[in-house]
Amino acid sequence: MRGLIIGLGLSLTLGGIGLYRARLLQNEFLALVILLSLAFLFIFGLTAYFWRIQPIKAARHFDRLFHLEERVSTALELNQHPEHIPTEILDRQLEDAVATVRAVKPRQDFPLRLQMREGMYALLFIALISLVWFRGETWFKAAQQARNVQHAVEAQAAQIEELIKQIEANEALTEEQKQALTKPLKEAQASLENNPSLENSVSTLTGTKEELQALSDPQAQQMSEALQQTGSDLAEQTDGPLQSIGENLAQGDTVNAASELANIDTSELSPEEQQQLADQLNQMAESLQSTNPQLANELNQAADALNNGDTEAAQQALDNAAQSMAQAGQQIASAQAANQAVSQLQQGADQVLAAGGGQPQANQSGQGQGANQGNQTDGTGGSGSGSGSEAGIGQNGNEAGSDPIAQNNGPGDGGESAYEQIYAPQLLGGDGGEQVNLPSSDQPGGDVIGEGPTTPGDPNASTVPYNEVYSQYEQINNQAIESGDVPPQFFQIIKDYFDSLKP
């Protein structure tokens, strides 16, 4: 019974600690209680069974227990030291002891009975455990959320590890680009492993996402699309000198396209071919003028040199153009890798938030750029494709449909919903009391509370730029989230609120 009591008490204590720290699920709590109770029951049983008892002590105990009036203990001592005791007394004492012991009825004199106090303790512990089991739903739910967060954070750490491997294996990136991209990811991975709490995880993932967004060239996507479009146009021109390059560009293989461009030997081209090449180069330059002026300029120079018959200058210009195209390809690859990482980090933050009981960020800032998918999203899709560059296209006013604050009074909803009526007492002391409402100051005879110079701002003019105000507010918000001041369940609401205010 004592083993059971200790097992129950210990399991209740450990279970309480586990629940307090939100680390114990309901089934685990039950398993802990059962295992500890049985374990201590078993241990105490074994201890009692194998506990070495001195015969003389056992004899004295039996004497008292069965009211044998020291017969057994005396007989035992006489058996060990029979000196100076008359033989008749020895024999009679032993006979008397044996006869008395034989008359003992252990079941009647020493029935197995539970001590009231121990039984009460056991019942108390069982009642407390039952109370926790049946009424501790909040604790178990919190533990489940914590466990989900833990798994989600571990999954995100593994995903970041995979991202790092992908980036390091990307041949299109230079070593500097790989290092720049993997550095924040490695820091995020270390942070998630060191402190896998919900707040830190979300903050880390969000911060890393912003760092990677900063590394992503906002023009890269447009440049990529322009190169692909140009490549498609060139590929359609069969038998053209740049058809193969166009095919590579259309497939997004800018590196091979640049290599082929560099391999064009203008000296071996016929005048007709040179003219055709010059036309296509002009066509390329025109298409790329808005997204990559340097490349367009070099292509124009090559075309002009070909038109002028200066193959050497044309060759030099083509080499320069190929180099620029290769650089553009690297920028695009870096941006794509960064965008992919950003997308996955955003998705990871959503998953961690969802695991913690918060609402996943279903909608990102307006129309994002699904760079990894190569097509523009409309901002209403899932979080994976919705994560885009904040400096990109920007908000176009369609967030109202996403209901960011769910209070029907956000900016996207026009803020026209009626506010809750506030109770404003007007009678001092309740019904029948003195009227206490003040007359309006703009009415004759009204009380003047204060006068002084006022500096009303100019209508429709702001003294502080909205971007500056917003960034300050967002920075303070991020600090509050990182410092753990904001409960996790409010993360989504706050994020939606700031998204709706984003310039």
Partner: protein
């Protein structure tokens, strides 16, 4: 040894039975006196007049086939009156001092109202009680065994009395308090003593048998933890001892001497045999503890002023002292 344990019980029951013919009730008193005799100890009976103290001892003298003498202690009683004295005799013209034995030269001596004699006379009993011998004029005379002193004293009439000194008290094996009989016993007493016939007891055992019973009783074994309990009980009666209770520390001036422990063990052995058991139990110790210890426990002024009884202190110690297993 020629006496068996069964014979011991049989003879003891016979003694009690014969005493019961004369003495009504007072079973505990009779039992304690019997235990004391079978253990070889002297008894001090204390009680108000008329409770049968003297009658009990006289009856005991009748039951036991022993030489019985009675000494009425008075203030003018001298030691020579008890011990005996040398007298000048003339035998065939030859004069010499010859020792004439006093009443102490008996097997069973009734020292009636012992506290009325002076301490000088009381002290004349010291050697006899402890060593069963008497020394007169540098000559030591051994008393016949068995030798018992059965003393009585009255706790009320203290004027003109001399309380027994501690050394004298300590030599008594038991101090037995004789209490008033109940109604039934009182009726029986009146019935027996107011009729034509006076009840009398017959001889039950001889002095030799008493000695055999005493020897048998000393052979009864006692377990070590019971002896340990006795030792701790004796030490706990001393207020300076660590195991002394609060009551002891507050009210006791001096605790029980080792003679108290000896009396407890010997008395318990006899009690065990009388109970049909061949070993000493804790119950035997507890049964005789007050009789064996009450006269060896000296209360201090606070105890006397507060009317504390030594029996209360002893019972509190016995019940509170844990039995170590």
């Amino acid at each position: 040894m020629t006496l068996s344990a069964d014979k011991f019980r049989e003879q003891a029951e016979k003694i009690e039975s014969e005493i019961g013919k004369v003495i009504v009730g007072q079973n505990e008193v009779v039992r304690h006196v019997l235990v004391s005799i079978l253990a070889g100890g002297h008894v001090l009976l204390e009680g108000v007049p008329g409770l049968g103290k003297t009658m009990l001892i006289r009856t005991l003298g009748e039951v036991l086939d022993l030489k019985f003498s009675r000494i009425q202690f008075t203030p003018d009683l001298m030691p020579a009156d008890i011990l005996g004295t040398e007298i000048l005799t003339d035998s065939d013209g030859h004069r010499e001092f010859r020792f004439r034995q006093g009443p102490l030269f008996a097997n069973l001596v009734l020292a009636d109202e012992i506290n009325r004699a002076t301490p000088k006379t009381q002290s004349a009993l010291l050697e006899a009680m402890q060593e069963s011998s008497v020394t007169v004029a540098q000559q030591t005379y051994h008393l016949d065994e068995p030798f018992f002193v059965m003393a009585t004293q009255n706790p009320l009439e203290m004027e003109g009395t001399y309380p027994l000194p501690e050394a004298q008290l300590d030599r008594f094996f038991f101090k037995v308090n004789v209490n008033l009989p109940n109604v039934t016993e009182m009726v029986e007493i009146m019935e027996r003593t107011t009729g034509k016939e006076t009840p009398s007891a017959n001889k039950a055992v001889s002095g030799k048998e008493i000695l055999q019973m005493r020897e048998l009783a000393r052979g009864v074994p006692i377990a070590s933890h019971v002896k340990d309990f006795v030792a701790r009980l004796v030490l706990a009666t001393h207020p300076e001892d660590g195991s002394a209770s609060l009551l002891t520390k507050k009210y006791v001036r001096y605790g029980v001497s080792p003679r108290g422990g000896q009396a407890l063990v010997l008395g318990a052995k006899v009690t065990a045999l009388l109970s049909g058991r061949y070993n000493v139990s804790f119950e035997d110790i507890k049964a005789i503890a007050p009789a064996a210890l009450r006269h060896r426990l000296l209360l201090n002024f606070d105890g006397l002023a507060d009317g504390v009884k030594t029996d209360d202190v002893i019972n509190e110690l016995v019940s509170s002292l844990a039995v170590q297993v």
